[in-house]
């Protein structure tokens, strides 16, 4: 009887174990990509670049491991690159879209409707209409959506070599892949992989890998579900619910703030890289280098630069030798930062280049300092 009981126990336990294994397998199995009718990397790239008008609605998840330090007042922006962000997008066209950053405590939404931008924040129960535009702003969740991220990266590096990647299944669709490998030897980016819906060219997944560990992407953004039809009009119109407030603010004007600093004109060349004609309306700001091996020069006041140098040194930054003043560098798997302080002015150099390039740039700036 006891032996029979043990046999029965064994059979039933095995049955339950097999059922559990089947359930886990059903949840983890990778379905074959299926036929994408992949058009070849060059044609796929052209379709991706032309996909801005492709309507879609979808849910995305972006995870970053950039290891950025917490920066005062900038926690929301840095969190995008150091954690996981859930994003919902309703995209009817380049000037009619809505992007929601979904959190466990609420939602922060950006609406773009016929040239007018509005922000909804559930936490503060406020709808803010932005008047005017600005050429420079902090990163936000919508920048990490695979379509926007892929198009921005691919348009920044039009001459870097591309190769085809094996197809994979993304958001229930067969997606064709393309890899962009930056030619610049000084960039921190090893490669950028993009998988897109082949017929429409809509990017569905983006992986950015750093040179420090090319096998492990530091930023992954993927649409987990997508519908390629236009979203209904009513979801694109921001509303003010009862009890909430509606305000109107001017777009952040950095030009005035920068003029107060009285920054020197950025040099035409730094660390062997020419200055690009970007942000001409923002005094003192210079963008250097093309493709994915570039960096930005941001002028700082002497006091802020001094505080930033002290803060970065305390956070484990590496001292950088400069002839005039002092400087410190911080490097992450993808972004390098050098802050220089000395006298009335300082500078922040940040970019996807090796720390040595920024150290060279800081040295050249310190040589020109008054």
């Amino acid at each position: 009887m006891a032996a029979g009981g043990r046999r029965a126990l064994s059979r039933r336990t095995l049955l339950v174990g097999a059922g559990a294994a089947a359930l886990v397998a059903a949840g983890t199995v990778s379905w074959p990509a299926g036929a994408t009718g992949a058009p070849g990397p060059a044609e796929l790239l052209a379709r991706i670049r032309a996909s801005a008008s492709q309507p879609y609605s979808g849910l995305a998840e972006a995870s970053g491991r950039l290891g950025l330090p917490d920066l005062p007042q900038l926690e929301q922006a840095t969190a995008l690159f150091t954690g996981t962000t859930r994003i919902r997008a309703f995209h009817a066209g380049p000037d009619r879209w809505r992007v929601d950053e979904l959190t466990a405590a609420g939602e922060r939404d950006v609406y773009q409707l016929d040239g007018v931008e509005s922000l909804w924040d559930f936490g503060s129960q406020r709808l803010t209409r932005i008047v005017g535009t600005t050429s420079l702003r902090l990163p936000r969740a919508g920048d990490l959506l695979p379509p926007d991220l892929a198009r921005r990266i691919l348009s920044a590096a039009p001459d870097d070599p591309i190769t085809a990647l094996p197809d994979r299944r993304v958001a229930g669709r067969a997606a064709a892949g393309v890899r962009l490998t930056p030619a610049d030897p000084d960039t921190t980016v090893a490669h950028v992989d993009v998988w897109a819906d082949a017929p429409s060219g809509l990017p569905l997944r983006v992986e950015i890998s750093g040179r420090a560990d090319p096998g492990r992407p530091v930023l992954i953004s993927e649409l987990t579900s997508v519908d390629l039809t236009a979203p209904p009009d009513d979801v694109l119109v921001p509303v003010v619910p009862p009890g909430a407030t509606a305000t109107e603010v001017a777009a952040t004007d950095l030009t005035g703030a920068l003029r107060v600093l009285g920054p020197a004109a950025p040099p035409g060349r730094l660390a062997g890289r020419g200055r690009l004609p970007r942000f001409p309306d923002l005094p003192g700001i210079g963008v250097y280098g093309s493709g994915l091996g570039g960096f930005v020069l941001v002028p700082l006041t002497g006091r802020i630069a001094g505080q930033a140098v002290d803060g970065a040194t305390g956070a484990g930054g590496v001292p950088v030798t400069v002839t005039n003043g002092r400087a410190v560098g911080v490097s992450t798997p993808l972004l390098s930062v050098v802050i220089r302080a000395g006298g009335r002015r300082g500078a922040l150099l940040v970019g996807t280049v090796s720390p040595s390039v920024l150290a060279q740039a800081a040295g050249e700036l310190s040589g020109q300092a008054p």
Binding site: L9, T13, V16, A105, E107, D109, G123, Q125, P241, A244
Partner: protein, 275 residues
């Protein structure tokens, strides 16, 4: 058999005590918020808590978010851990099995009883917190406009009917999530004669799952963790409602219930019952 188990469950004082304590915590929070008018700043504190001062109809959602992480699992662990082990500890299990009722039917009746407990627990918290919320914070500005609806997380106004529908969905979803713990509790309850050990086993599962959740190294198993999907119901209060995470959550919870109840069945139907 099921009816007998349900009546037994409703007659137990500890069950009513669990429900009372579950309803007490949100009530205390509502009283404190109403008297101090100090809600957590936006983005901090439990979900919806920062918004309840302006509309009491949001309080059921805030109350569910308050009891979900600890109190609800503890009560489910106590009741489900007692399901079989309680009979064994009291020496009534062997007499129960003498009746012409199969062990599977007995176990299934226990599961139904635990399911009724979890559903009633979530429902009672929702109803009492709605009443308490409206008394403490009022109907909000929507009532003056004749609507009585609330702002969804996305800003669009939810009508009272939509609010009722989404709250009902939340109650059902959370009852299912708790039933997962109930099924695990019944499994542990068949493995030991101690109701306390079975309840602690359930809490160990909850703590382990919650500890693994934020670990990057646990990414491969994260989607199978029972606690991973507990907050997915918040997506029901967005506009349009977002069902992806809720759907995944339902699938994972059903999988856990199936496996845990199956394992309980495999163990209990072949177990030598001596107490």
């Amino acid at each position: 058999m099921i009816g007998t188990e349900l009546v037994l469950m409703l007659r137990r004082r500890r069950v009513w005590l669990c429900w009372a304590l579950l309803c007490l915590l949100p009530t205390v929070v509502a009283v404190l918020l109403a008297t101090t008018r100090l809600a957590p700043p936006p983005g901090r504190g439990g979900a919806f808590l920062s918004a309840v001062l302006s509309d009491g109809q949001l309080f059921p959602a805030a109350a569910l978010a308050l009891v979900l992480p600890v109190f609800l699992p503890i009560t489910v662990a106590i009741v489900s851990g007692d399901a079989v082990a309680g009979e064994a500890a009291a020496g009534t299990l062997r007499y129960l099995l003498v009746r012409p009722v199969g062990r599977f039917r007995l176990l299934f009746a226990k599961l139904v009883s635990v399911a009724a407990f979890t559903l009633l627990a979530v429902l009672l918290v929702t109803v009492t917190s709605y009443v308490v919320g409206v008394i403490a914070f009022g109907f909000g500005p929507g009532a003056e406009l004749g609507g009585g609806g609330i702002a969804s997380l996305s800003g669009a106004t939810l009508t009272p009917l939509q609010l009722a529908g989404r709250t009902a969905g939340t109650v059902g979803y959370l009852a299912l999530c708790m039933l997962t713990l109930g099924a695990v509790g019944i499994l542990f309850s068949t493995l030991t004669d101690s109701p306390l050990a079975a309840a602690l086993g359930v809490l160990a599962v909850v703590v382990t799952s919650a500890a693994l959740q934020p670990l990057d190294a646990a990414e491969a198993v994260r989607t199978f963790l029972p606690t991973q999907h507990w907050l997915a119901w918040i997506d029901l209060f967005r506009d349009p409602p977002l069902l992806d995470a809720v759907r995944t959550g339902i699938e994972v919870q059903l999988g856990w219930i199936l496996v845990a109840f199956g394992a309980a069945w495999a163990n209990f139907t072949t177990k030598d019952v001596t107490s």
